[in-house]
């Protein structure tokens, strides 16, 4: 399995949800749930550490591919994350996405942490920083009201340029010994 310790947190988003840790865990790992709040992507995974993780387009194609590093229901989920389904993104180093689920009074505190193994530019981080608030706001609405939000967005233009530049220059190779 990949060594998670080489990844450093770059984006953190916290939301509090009036539900149980078990329901949050189900929403994060169940395809019927994820399709509602995750821009239509279905989660497809092997429920164990070392198992495969996918986010799939409605037609079944792979959008995100990863490997599960931590499978500790209903407290902690971590997997590597490579956006394979979009031009050039699949050539970037994979990042690490971790969900921490904690009871907080009568609510649940959900913390999403996106971590990277290289000195990733802000223009690339902008994609996740725009996307996670929409995804996790919608997740909260699904669990509290049964109704997802409909947020339409694509990657920021400067992100597309930054990804193309990074893929051409491969700065992560320079930090290897």
């Amino acid at each position: 399995m990949i060594d998670g310790t080489k990844f450093k947190p770059k984006t953190v988003y916290v939301t509090y949800i009036a539900t149980t840790p078990e329901k949050v865990w189900q929403a994060l790992t169940d395809p019927a749930f994820s399709k509602q709040y995750f821009f239509g992507f279905a989660v497809d995974l092997e429920p164990r550490a070392g198992g495969a993780f996918f986010l799939r387009y409605p037609d079944g194609r792979v959008h995100v591919r990863g490997e599960i590093l931590d499978w500790s229901p209903p407290r902690r989920f971590a997997c590597t994350w490579l956006v394979e389904g979009m031009k050039e993104f699949g050539e970037l180093p994979e990042c690490l996405v971790t969900y921490d689920i904690e009871q907080a009074g009568e609510a649940v505190r959900l913390t999403m942490t996106e971590s990277h193994s290289w000195d990733v530019p802000d223009a690339i981080l902008a994609g996740g920083r725009a996307g996670w608030p929409a995804i996790l706001s919608s997740l909260k609405s699904v669990l509290e009201t049964g109704k997802p939000l409909v947020v339409k967005m694509g990657p920021p233009a400067e992100m597309m340029e930054a990804v193309a530049r990074a893929v051409a220059e491969k700065p992560w190779l320079k930090s290897l010994p």
Binding site: Y13, V14, Y16, A104, E106, S137, E144, V150, V151
Partner: protein, 156 residues
């Protein structure tokens, strides 16, 4: 070292008018903001105070009031002596309608050097804004008996 800036975005199934009203209403703030009720005449330059159970928690002055798009006030926590001595910071609420929902962006900046308030508000805003979203979408607020404890910086 650049000064810290806290940014939090949430999407709420509501209208800009309703979100703006909740942010500027005594009773609504008292409900979603864990008892911290806002009092102000909301005119630019006027004072704003938040009281909880008769105690002054937070004070500032209205910097911008452009309903239902933009609200800003200076921000000086008063409930804890370690914060009250610090120069006031600034919070800005920006509301953008998106079809049948609202994108709310909260930007909190202009902190003192060596600020202690920044760490506290970084913990506090996700909770307050999650509760605001629940209040507007479900008419229920999040129950947070741990709120004061966390606000005081105790993690035990």
């Amino acid at each position: 070292m650049s000064k810290p800036v806290f940014v939090y975005v949430t999407y709420i199934a509501s209208t800009p008018d309703k979100v703006f009203s909740a942010l500027t209403d005594h009773d609504a703030t008292g409900k979603f903001w864990f008892g911290n009720a806002a009092t102000s005449d909301w005119k630019v330059g006027s004072p704003i105070e938040f009281h909880r159970e008769g105690k002054l928690i937070l004070q500032g002055n209205i910097l911008e009031n452009d309903p239902p798009r933009r609200l800003s006030y200076s921000f000086r926590p008063m409930h804890d002596p370690q914060f009250a001595g610090e120069q006031p910071s600034r919070v800005v609420f920006e509301l953008e309608p998106q079809k049948d929902q609202v994108k709310l962006t909260v930007t909190h900046d202009d902190f003192a050097e060596d600020t202690k308030v920044f760490a506290s508000i970084s913990n506090g805003w996700p909770l307050v804004l999650s509760s605001l979203k629940s209040y507007l979408e479900t008419n229920r607020v999040l129950r947070a008996p741990w709120y004061e404890k966390q606000e005081a910086g105790s993690c035990s």
